[in-house]
Subunit: 332 residues, 2 copies
Amino acid sequence: MGDLPIVRIGVDLGGTKIFTVALKGTEVVAEAKSKTPVQGGPLAVVDAMAATVRALGVGSEAEAVGVGAPGVIDFRSGVVHSAPNLTGWVEPFRLGPALSEALGGTSVTVDNDVNVGTVAEHQMGAAVGSRDVLGVFVGTGVGGGLILNNRLRRGASGYAGEIGHVVVRPGGRRCGCGGRGHLEAYAGRAGMERRARQHEARGRDTLLVELSRTRRMTSSVFARALEARDPIAVALVDRAVETLGLALSMATTLMDIPMVVLGGGLADRLGPSFVARVEEAALALVPNGRADTLRVVPAALSDRGGAIGAALSARVRRPRSSAADGRARVTT
Amino acid sequence: MGDLPIVRIGVDLGGTKIFTVALKGTEVVAEAKSKTPVQGGPLAVVDAMAATVRALGVGSEAEAVGVGAPGVIDFRSGVVHSAPNLTGWVEPFRLGPALSEALGGTSVTVDNDVNVGTVAEHQMGAAVGSRDVLGVFVGTGVGGGLILNNRLRRGASGYAGEIGHVVVRPGGRRCGCGGRGHLEAYAGRAGMERRARQHEARGRDTLLVELSRTRRMTSSVFARALEARDPIAVALVDRAVETLGLALSMATTLMDIPMVVLGGGLADRLGPSFVARVEEAALALVPNGRADTLRVVPAALSDRGGAIGAALSARVRRPRSSAADGRARVTT
């Protein structure tokens, strides 16, 4: 291959969809996708991931594969410890080694989906050129990634960036994790849906429930109810804006980070006006003088960010011996 | 000097006191102190600092001087931009170069007092061995410093660690900086004093005001009123514990930092039971599983931490030419 840019593959493993890209340097040269199997557990998911990688058609050109996965990931070993959004993933599973084996020994790196999403926005998206970046992804839940001095911060236990579980209302709404008053309970789609259904149960009708009688209360449902000025939807989104603004003001003040990228399914669907409102809410709460430098911008890579970031995060393994045993030696 | 450990001098410039130490390696070999001049502005302060350095008696052995100063510091240039606690410091002042000149050309490094305090606790105090440390100093105000991966984080504008100005109560108490609901308004001595005087003005007598008729409402006054179970003092300290716990839970969750050192005049005076209460409040608010690893511990170096940290932060200048012009060439 000589001087050619290396080819890396990125796999975004989502609760409903597996999306893969092949990256030559920083150019996306192929894409593929499939549904995430809901039966057969981790092994079925690995098979589907491997098939989606093969569908890219880059074959042996690929020097490394990166995976962005939801849940608690051990970056060093490639183990997914828990992934609440994936059906049947109860026990810790060695995803990295298993996918490597399915791909004939290619090096596989596994990281958190929001970490790789932040890496993607930093290297190829809305935050190119920023030395310090906080990436916040608002979807079913709320996740975050931290780039400090151009490096991803993992933290002492691998949890750095977990902005969804900071307390924005002491004693407030119950979060999916069991905690109280966490940002995710106010700004994540699942928390907002729970709240909407509580209102409905108490006799306060809302378009949110009406529009999701036969399907999930998706980000599009929120967008439509908001456009129709449904009072419950308006109030829920107001609260999401307010709590996101508070959390972003705290995070950026504490770490002195001038750039926040706001992405994820719900933020993407509600669009730039939502991001602008969050920016305004954050700016109103940062100390004197900081408002001039802080920016909150929409993610630029949309739902391709996860796969692109996974590819960018893939570590190319230097061959030390023949990989005859087919096991990954994940570079750390 | 050959193989001997280098001698560095640290100067803690406080609102009332200048405290200096000479450090040989990590051993304190001399200490000196003087009052901070309240007349004559920055030049008088520089003279007093230089005299206190000379009083150490280490003479030309010292290879570098570090200063920890309050206010907004430009670490690279040694300029103190604003120092509200120092009388007559209105304009930005080139403290580093001026002190270097007064000391005959010795290299001088100037940094924020809480940054150097955190460095001291990390290298020689309560957080030795911790890779990631949040240092929080509760005195007149509330300041913080961040060590991430064993390095001090300054942030994009030099403000990193400014935990005193994160919002813990949206729309809450007015902070000295003009903001609302900042931690400093609830947990800093000045904010607590303002609140105590408001209560008094509204007819709610408090020992805090009683004990400070003829002197300042010092940390000792708070400690004595608390011991006497003065209801206003109890309520103010409860609120300080609660808001510190909230801010620490957010900061440590976000950055995944397992070690917080809590120091400063008020925390030192209220003692380990105060720190233990703050730890308890923080642990109650961190996500599931984190409470096992997070620790909030009292600062170990007390009021010597600032000077020790300033010495540890002093950069030894490599001579590039004769320093005949007597001007500092502050190493950056």
